[in-house]
């Protein structure tokens, strides 16, 4: 249904795309998640710099000359993408994140930098776009254009995959115990017959989306056992304070001190069902024993938590993929940020349990796809939801959206 609707709207859009005006700078998109807020900022390159109004300059300077903002904001410099072009302008994409619980500080900062003078609307996605809408309105006088988070995620994913050759990768020989697994680029473009695939976004929770074509997707499943569960449990069990600490602990730990393996129960393989002895039979299954609890180090507990959650997500994803008849699963979301171990575990689990029939794919900008998707809503004329796209009759975006929605209903 969605693809049918797309072709209609495409025609409609093309006939109307003559009168397009550029949105005012700065261009950024936001994804306000349960734990992290992600911000993607487009910095126009120098040759266009003279066009920038002066007041934009200090924001640009602030955002691009720092890697840390306040006490909690961070710019992921390694993800920075130069030479990206939007609407005929080329520039650099910057990727910034801060904890959603610091949203209030962010709003103060934006007020301080007079963001309101530059734009009266911000494109935002994620649940926080709803939750903080009234704060943006009352404290900044800005409205949020709330965008569907899964659609943003998919738009961001395809955008990156097409422009960044190394964006998408897989592990040809996944081995959870080897930290030097080879990463092989994987070509995922609209031209490369990339559909269908399953997108598994691991944020605080997990969303699983079956994608069959551009805008032809549906959320097929999800689980509340996600990145938030990992961090929450690790904080409780080890006293660590940050995701990075938790991952660092997990990398050093040994989950076999915590988990009960098949061989711990059956003395070896469970032959009747072909279960190998070294498989985990019960996560944390040793921890009811006082002695084993005393032996388990924080590293071991962190590792067991990571292994348990990663395998569980892998298992649900694999079930969904085979139920949907899909053989490619793309894992995204900030849980995989600097989390090599989970990448290896997921790649291995998908390969092992599907007997090689399902391939696990990963992306470099794992956590920023939604924010990027929301930026694209602002600047990409390919987007039907484009905020500044006006029709010949002078319809503003909202009128057009309303038309689209009515149109959807009719189909």
């Amino acid at each position: 249904m969605a693809s049918r609707q797309l072709s209609e709207t495409k025609l409609r859009r093309r006939s109307m795309s003559t009168s397009y005006r550029l949105p005012p700078l700065p261009w950024f998109g936001m994804d306000i998640g349960g734990t992290l807020t992600k911000l993607v900022y487009f910095e126009p390159s120098l040759d266009n710099a003279e066009e920038e109004r002066e007041k934009v300059a200090h924001i640009r300077k602030y955002l691009t000359s720092n890697v840390a903002y306040g006490t909690t904001g961070l710019r992921d410099v390694h993800l920075e993408m130069p030479n990206v072009s939007f609407l005929g302008r080329s520039g650099t994409l910057h990727f910034i994140r801060f904890p959603t619980c610091s949203m209030s500080i962010f709003i103060d900062m934006a007020k301080d930098k007079n963001l309101k003078d530059l734009a009266d609307m911000i494109c935002a996605t994620g649940g926080g776009a709803y939750k903080f809408e009234s704060d943006f309105q009352s404290r900044l006088g800005m409205s949020l254009l709330k965008l569907d988070e899964l659609e943003c995620l998919l738009n961001g994913l395809i955008f990156l995959a097409e422009r960044h050759p190394l964006e998408c990768y897989y592990l040809p020989e996944p081995d959870p115990s080897r930290s030097d697994c080879l990463r092989q680029p994987y070509s995922l473009t609209r031209q490369s017959d990339c559909y269908p695939f399953l997108a598994v976004n691991i944020g605080s929770g997990v969303s699983i989306i079956a994608v069959r074509g551009p805008r032809d997707w549906n959320r097929v499943s999800g689980t509340s056992l996600g990145g938030g569960t990992f961090l929450g449990l690790c904080c409780l069990l080890t006293g660590c304070e940050t995701f990075e600490d938790a991952i660092a602990l997990a990398e050093r730990g040994d989950s076999n001190k915590v988990d009960k393996l098949v061989m711990d129960i059956y003395g070896g393989d469970y032959e009747l069902f072909g279960l190998r002895g070294d498989l985990v039979a019960s996560s944390f299954g040793h921890m009811m024993s006082v002695d084993k609890r005393a032996e388990a180090k924080p590293e071991d507990l962190a590792r067991a938590t990571l292994v348990m959650l990663t395998n569980n997500i892998g298992s649900i994803a694999r079930m969904c993929a085979s139920t949907q008849g899909i053989d490619r699963v793309i894992f995204t979301g900030n849980f995989l940020r600097c989390n090599e171990l989970s990448v290896r575990l997921l790649a291995h689990a998908m390969d092992y349990w599907s007997r090689g029939s399902i391939k696990a794919l990963f992306v470099q900008h794992e956590g920023y796809l939604g924010a990027l998707g929301s930026l694209m809503e602002l600047v990409d004329p390919d987007s039907i939801n484009n905020a500044y796209f006006t029709s010949e009759d002078g319809y503003k975006k909202h009128d057009f959206l309303r038309l689209c929605n009515i149109f959807k209903l009719l189909i």
Binding site: G205, V258, S282, F284
Partner: protein
């Protein structure tokens, strides 16, 4: 000690009261778990049983009755803490050794089958203590066998968790016929998902390491205590919303529901609030509750995913993790419902803890080629088995199954899977019966008929004295009768106490169940047939009146005969000592109260349900080949009501099968009494003697010993006779068989249901008065359409 769940045996309690009949035990199987072990064994129980002796040459009485001790097979299930295993083995050894050591010899004849995680660990200890060979049995295989065994033999073994019902469980029998494959999810330390096709064929299609061990292990880490039941107890006091990140926390509670139509309470991220960034202190109850929900939700979701991938519509959850814990069952059910949107249903098992043990027992019999030991049907002994309490973690502590005749489905039920024997579910809401009532042309009872439960519990409890007296009087020569009468009272009273506190203590609470408990308590106290004297008296009085009744009927114009026979049958049905009001009338008027007096009590026509004309014209059409009549009371009912009706059918060329209970129940006639009575009748009614000798009149035992009739469990004898004789008319008479049960049973042939409502409350509920009449004729064709 919070380990109430198992009510397991403490060392001091390890006695002959707990491990009953041990000296006669024949076969054992063990399921050794991490904390709990279960043992199942088969023994020979001695029962007092009534035998009817018919002597044509005696004048003093129609027949005489003897009570003798008889042996019968019994399966015992006991659970105890694994740490007491060796004490238990010692106790078993001592008892088996007995005086001659024969018990031990029998035990050593075949290997002892052991399953469960501890099978390996305790193998040598068991072999050393008992001197027998131990054979390990695979856990999953035992589980599947055990599940099949329980589903086959125990009605209402399966139940679903219904949050909006009180108590929150709803009994079902959907899987007992073994038709459709289902998903069996065993939640032990880890989780295994088994696709079960039938009792021996299954495949492990998946699993997860997030299981009971994860709750236990992580819970121990979070709470600092390793007692599983304590962890559950702590979890039940918490609020997960303080620990989990909800949809409302991310979206803001208003937009979550208004924009997305999502409940703000849906968990977006388990433990999502527990990261240090929130700088909060978390309470143990909140953390454990969140953990319990995390684990059970996840299992529920995975179970749904596996079920839908394999096109299975039913999921049965088993394993130590559940332990009848309400929150666990609720979350598992929620997970399955949420993800399947109701297309897949979650079930639990009442005797879940014993699946492994009975499975190992069955496997042992299979391997020793002794599976014949299990032939027949096994029924819960409601007097000696512990009660079931959904939600209090008080699982079944003791279970005893008594061997009965082999029972099977009544072949003339229109739809076996649609058949619900009981008219009232006294344990909960009656909504499911509303439509059925309307189809039986009666006013449906109020949907949440709590007063019905109160009424029937009070009604039957008030009759304890009467039954105790009668029981003691039935054994005038026994010095222990008074003492055993007291034991009966205590046991039966205890049932009422438990049923009031917990209506599902013995499965679904129904009038039938209450009557079954009464019979079981009497039998257990050594009173196999308290009514035998009374029944004989009434039979003798009625027999004296038979000739004149037959003459009177013979004098009627043939057009009036069918109506007169029905009126006679209904009049006879008034003689019911189970009904308090009738018992009073009979006691008051004695022998003055005869069939004619009884017929005068009947409601004038039109009756509450009055199909007399339809029945009469159908009968006259002469279409029937063979009728089966399920008879009710002794005396006037059988001899002056049913028998003339049956003789008339025979006269019309219709074969007749009279079906009576095998075992005694109230003043209902038993097959043994029936045989004696019909032979006596034959001595002065040649038509009856002829019909009997020519095989046109057949007498069959139903296999039941209940005043009610559960047509899922009738004797093979009855089922075979129905097929062989091509029965095309089913006649069910009496309140127990046609009102409390089978009121809306549908048959594949014509059916005539006849009953007099001898209870004012019941009559009122059905829209009538005391002595209102139900004469419901349900032609097969109509039944097939409606």
């Amino acid at each position: 000690n919070t380990s109430e769940y198992c009510s397991s045996i403490a060392i001091s309690e390890l006695s002959a009261d707990v491990l009953r009949d041990l000296p006669t035990a024949q076969r054992f199987a063990l399921d050794i778990g991490g904390s709990l072990s279960k043992i199942v064994y088969q023994s020979k129980r001695k029962w007092r049983k009534t035998f009817v002796v018919y002597d044509e040459n005696t004048d003093s009485h129609l027949y005489s009755t003897q009570e003798l001790e008889k042996e019968a097979d019994c399966l015992h299930f006991i659970k105890f803490e694994t740490r007491l295993l060796e004490n238990c083995l010692d106790f078993i050894y001592d008892n088996l050794k007995g005086s001659d050591g024969r018990g031990l010899e029998i035990l050593r004849n075949s290997p002892l089958r052991v399953t469960g995680g501890g099978a390996h660990k305790y193998r040598l200890a068991i072999e050393a203590k008992l001197g027998c060979v131990v054979e390990k049995e695979d856990e999953m295989t035992c589980l599947v066998r055990g599940c099949a065994f329980m589903l086959k033999h125990i009605p209402g073994e399966l139940f679903s968790y219904e949050h909006d019902s009180s108590p929150p469980c709803c009994f079902a029998d959907e899987l007992s016929d073994g038709g459709e494959p289902f998903l069996l999810v065993n939640i032990g330390s880890g989780v295994s998902m088994l696709k079960v096709e039938n009792e021996t064929t299954f495949t492990r299609i998946g699993g997860t390491s997030l299981g009971g061990g994860t709750f236990w292990g992580l819970g121990s880490l979070l709470a600092g205590t390793s007692d599983f039941d304590e962890l559950l107890e702590i979890a039940s006091q918490g609020d997960h919303r303080n620990v989990d990140m909800l949809v409302g926390d991310i979206y803001g509670s208003e937009s979550a529901s208004s924009v997305h139509g999502l409940s703000a309470d849906i968990i977006a991220s388990s433990f999502g609030k527990a990261s240090k960034a929130d700088c909060k202190e978390f309470s143990k109850p909140d953390l454990l509750r969140s953990l319990l929900i995390t684990v059970s939700n996840n299992i529920g979701q995975l179970a749904f995913l596996y079920a839908s991938r394999h096109q299975l519509r039913r999921i049965v959850f088993a394993g130590f993790f559940i332990r009848g814990h309400l929150l666990t069952m609720r979350t598992l059910t929620y997970g399955v419902n949420f993800w399947s949107q109701g297309s897949v249903k979650a079930y639990f098992l009442r005797h879940e803890g014993y699946l492994g043990a009975i499975g190992a027992f069955v496997r042992g019999l299979e391997k020793d080629r002794r599976i014949g030991v299990l032939t027949g049907s096994w029924a819960e002994n409601l007097c000696t088995s512990s009660s079931f309490d959904v939600g209090s973690w008080q699982g079944m502590a003791a279970l005893e199954l008594d061997k009965r005749k082999e029972l099977t489905d009544f072949p003339l039920l229109r739809d076996r899977l649609d058949y619900v024997p009981d008219t009232w579910d006294l344990s909960q809401s009656c909504q499911q019966f509303q439509a059925a009532f309307q189809s039986a042309r009666l006013n449906p009872p109020p949907s949440q008929d709590l007063s019905a439960r109160e009424y029937w519990l009070n009604c039957f409890e008030a009759s304890i004295d009467r039954h105790q007296q009668r029981a003691v009087l039935s054994q005038p020569d026994s010095p222990s009768a008074t003492e055993r009468g007291e034991a009966f009272r205590l046991a039966y009273q205890n049932f009422f106490k438990e049923a009031r506190a917990n209506p599902v203590a013995f499965g679904q609470l129904t009038v039938r169940r209450i009557l079954d408990v009464q019979e079981h308590c009497l039998r257990e106290s050594g009173f196999p047939d308290p009514f035998w004297v009374l029944k004989r008296e009434e039979n003798e009085v009625a027999l004296d009146g038979l000739q004149s009744r037959l003459s009177h009927l013979a004098s009627l114009p043939s057009a009036d005969l069918p109506a007169a026979l029905i009126r006679g049958l209904l009049g006879g049905n008034v003689f019911d000592w189970g009904a308090g009001r009738v018992a009073e009338l009979l006691a008051e008027h004695g022998k003055q109260f005869g069939l004619n007096e009884a017929m005068e009590q009947l409601q004038p026509r039109p009756w509450l349900v009055d199909d007399l004309d339809a029945w009469t014209s159908r009968l006259k059409a002469g279409v029937y080949t063979c009728a089966i009549v399920f008879v009710d009371n002794s005396g006037c009912d059988l001899l002056l009501g049913v028998l003339p009706f049956a003789i008339d059918l025979l006269d019309r060329g219709v074969k007749v099968i009279l079906a009576a209970n095998h075992g005694p129940a109230l003043n209902d006639v038993t097959i043994f009494e029936l045989r004696a009575l019909i032979r006596r009748v034959g001595s002065f009614v040649p038509r009856v003697a002829d019909a009997l000798s020519s095989g046109r009149l057949l007498l069959a035992g139903t296999g039941s010993s209940s005043p009610c009739l559960d047509l899922r469990y009738v004797s093979v004898e009855v089922a075979d006779a129905c097929r062989q004789e091509q029965v095309d008319l089913v006649v069910i008479e009496g309140m127990g068989r046609a009102v409390h049960t089978n009121l809306y049973a549908k048959f594949s042939c014509d059916c005539l249901k006849l009953a007099v409502l001898k209870n004012a409350w019941l009559a009122d509920r059905l829209g009538g008065n005391l002595f209102s009449v139900i004469c419901s004729f349900e032609p097969a064709a109509a039944a097939a359409v409606g």
